[in-house]
């Protein structure tokens, strides 16, 4: 038999054990917090050093002369005019192919397609496509667009290669944006006699524009930094001319010759300079890299603003 006193002793021993365990648990908790903070600072620090390093060697090179000159054998006279014009033209082709195709595919899969094994299969493969190494898209584009369709080593072939690369990102972003709209909103539209297309066009697309636009911009900022697929299809690294202008001063005022022009792009120009000996070319490369980075950051900033703006009026 245990006496009352024994019980009290046992109970207090128990309490002490619990307390010891609790303090151990608390210290593990605290330590994880500290280690996590350390890792976060470490990772951000590496990124910061990278940026600072780029800025230190490249910032002084960025001026109007650098932006408005063609590449040159003399590092001091070289610039990135043909590179950034090429990048912009590529992005125009990429966006005008990837956005309509990707958004339409996303709408179809989310709103129209029946949920069965076939659509599951498509879904898994879209996720897989997003993970395919970019150089494989380059090889595909080389075979299909450059040789089969005879687009040549042109802006069109490059833009199409990048469009294929980012298409899965656009599809997934569209589907996710549509999925945030509650079923009750769809039913409200259908109950009034809307067709699926009317529900999409009048409601679902307008309410998900912010999400879709964010996804599209993130996809574009992925495409803008790609070099492997462009090198594979044979983008040139030294171009001292601009593609033909898209707007003419005489009828028919619009020209699409630029689509078939050879091109270079910022990452390729950078790659070219990095592979050259000489301090000055290295700083040219850093400057081009910095410029590319600024564009990417700017695009991500716009994506954040767009999302904020689009969500301002929409609460579910």
């Amino acid at each position: 038999m245990l006496s009352v006193g024994d019980f009290i002793v046992l109970a207090s021993q128990n309490l002490r054990k619990q307390e010891a365990r609790a303090s151990r648990r608390r210290s593990i908790d605290r330590w994880f917090g500290r280690i996590g903070l350390l890792f976060t600072i470490g990772t951000l620090g590496v990124l910061a050093i990278l940026l600072l390093n780029l800025a230190a060697s490249g910032l002084t090179r960025i001026d109007w002369q650098f932006l408005l000159s063609f590449p040159s054998r003399r590092a001091a006279e070289a610039g990135i005019l043909s590179a950034w014009v090429g990048t912009i033209l590529l992005m125009i082709v990429t966006a005008s192919v990837a956005v309509p195709l990707g958004v339409a595919a996303g709408i179809y899969l989310e709103e129209y397609a029946a949920k069965n094994k076939w659509t599951d299969f498509i879904e898994i493969n879209i996720a897989n496509l997003a993970g395919v190494p970019s150089i494989l898209y380059g090889l595909m584009a080389l075979g299909l667009f450059v040789y089969q369709f005879r687009f040549g080593q042109s802006v069109l072939a490059g833009g199409l290669a990048l469009a294929c690369l980012v298409l899965p990102i656009v599809i997934v972003a569209t589907r996710e944006a549509l999925r945030t709209i509650p079923a009750a909103i769809r039913e409200a539209a259908f109950a009034l006699g809307a067709t699926r297309w009317q529900a999409v066009w009048h409601h679902l697309l307008p309410y998900s524009t912010g999400g879709i636009a964010t996804g599209v911009i993130l996809a574009m900022s992925r495409a803008i930094g790609e070099s492997a697929p462009l090198i594979t299809i044979g983008a040139l690294t030294f171009i001292a001319f601009l593609p033909p202008a898209p707007i003419l001063s005489h009828a028919p005022f619009l020209s699409f010759d630029w689509l078939f022009s050879p091109f270079t792009a910022l990452p390729i120009q950078m790659f070219n300079w990095v592979s050259r000996p000489g301090e000055e070319f290295q700083s040219n490369a850093a400057a081009a890299g910095l410029f590319l980075m600024l564009i990417t950051l700017g695009m991500n900033g716009v994506a954040i603003l767009l999302r904020r703006h689009a969500q301002r009026n929409i609460k579910w």
């Binding site: 949920k115 039913e187 409200a188 109950a191 009034l192 006699g193 809307a194 009048h202």
Partner: protein, 274 residues
């Protein structure tokens, strides 16, 4: 009001043996509904009288909402659903489940108000105008007139007339639900379906909606699914009690609540289950 006998009227005959039909709006005959292999409704037959409020009551999962959503073919939006039987809409008597019947045409004649207020994230005006726009009305003057009429009929006009072009989401829950009613009646549907319209609302907002529904039956036939027996007692002329996918009893609300014919109805109404 039309004098309508308490029992199911479609089978009644007068002395001469000629069927006396009160004005029936929706005639549901042997309706069964399957979700995949799962039968949710079993052979339901029921005549919904015109210009009255018909309440559907029963415990959760009894199929009352499923029945309501058969009437505007909402089940067609999801795969794996199948109807059997017929639902005729009068006058005319077209079978809205019949082959070749376009669900979109059905939905334009049945308005629907949902459990939770679900206004579009657009202006108050655009919410009410949407059904009209779908039906091809696009002249500003016509739209203005119909939007005002619908908002007056849903007792919302005085509260929102100065801010028609502000977002609907700035309204309170009860106002949003009245807006959804305005949206449903703006197109002058034959029948308005209410799916537990007050379950997300406070008592004051609820009583406003109930008043509205009673007022509405002068112009339109109302079918309401409700969890709230008192609500069915307060606002409905007829009540249908459903249990496990079957229609157990259907009759005049007063009679059902005071003198139910079936023991299950009595058990449910007296709170012994459900």
């Amino acid at each position: 009001m039309n004098p309508i006998p308490a029992v199911q009227v479609s089978s009644e005959k007068d002395i001469a043996g000629v069927e006396v039909k009160p004005e029936v709006k929706v005639e549901i005959q042997n309706l069964s509904f399957f979700y995949g292999r799962n039968q949710v409704l079993r052979n339901v037959s029921l005549d919904v009288p015109a210009y009255q409020v018909t309440a559907m009551i029963g415990p959760s999962g009894c199929g009352k909402t499923t029945l309501l959503r058969c009437l505007n073919r909402m089940h067609d939006l999801y795969p794996g659903n199948r109807y059997e039987g017929s639902v005729r809409l009068y006058p005319g008597g077209t079978d809205i489940l019949g082959p070749g019947m376009d669900p979109i045409r059905v939905r334009m004649r049945f308005g629907m108000v949902f459990q939770k207020p679900n206004p579009f994230p657009k202006s108050i005006y655009e919410n009410v105008a949407y059904g009209l726009r779908l039906q091809g009305m696009n002249k500003r003057r016509d739209l203005d007139e119909r939007v005002e009429k619908a908002l007056r009929e849903s007792a919302l006009w005085d509260e929102v007339k100065s801010r028609l072009h502000q977002l609907a989401h700035n309204l309170s829950g009860g106002q949003q639900q009245r807006l959804c009613i305005a949206r449903a009646i703006a197109t002058d549907p034959d029948v308005v379906l209410f799916d537990e319209p007050t379950s997300a609302l406070d008592p004051i907002a609820t009583s406003k909606i109930e008043e509205l529904i009673v007022e509405m039956k002068k112009r339109v036939t109302v079918i309401i699914v409700t969890h709230n027996l008192q609500q069915a007692g307060r606002i409905s002329d007829r009540t249908a009690f459903m249990y496990l996918g079957e229609l157990i009893e259907f009759g005049e609300t007063n009679r059902m609540f005071t003198n139910p014919a079936k023991p299950q109805t009595e058990d449910y109404i007296s709170g012994r289950f459900g």
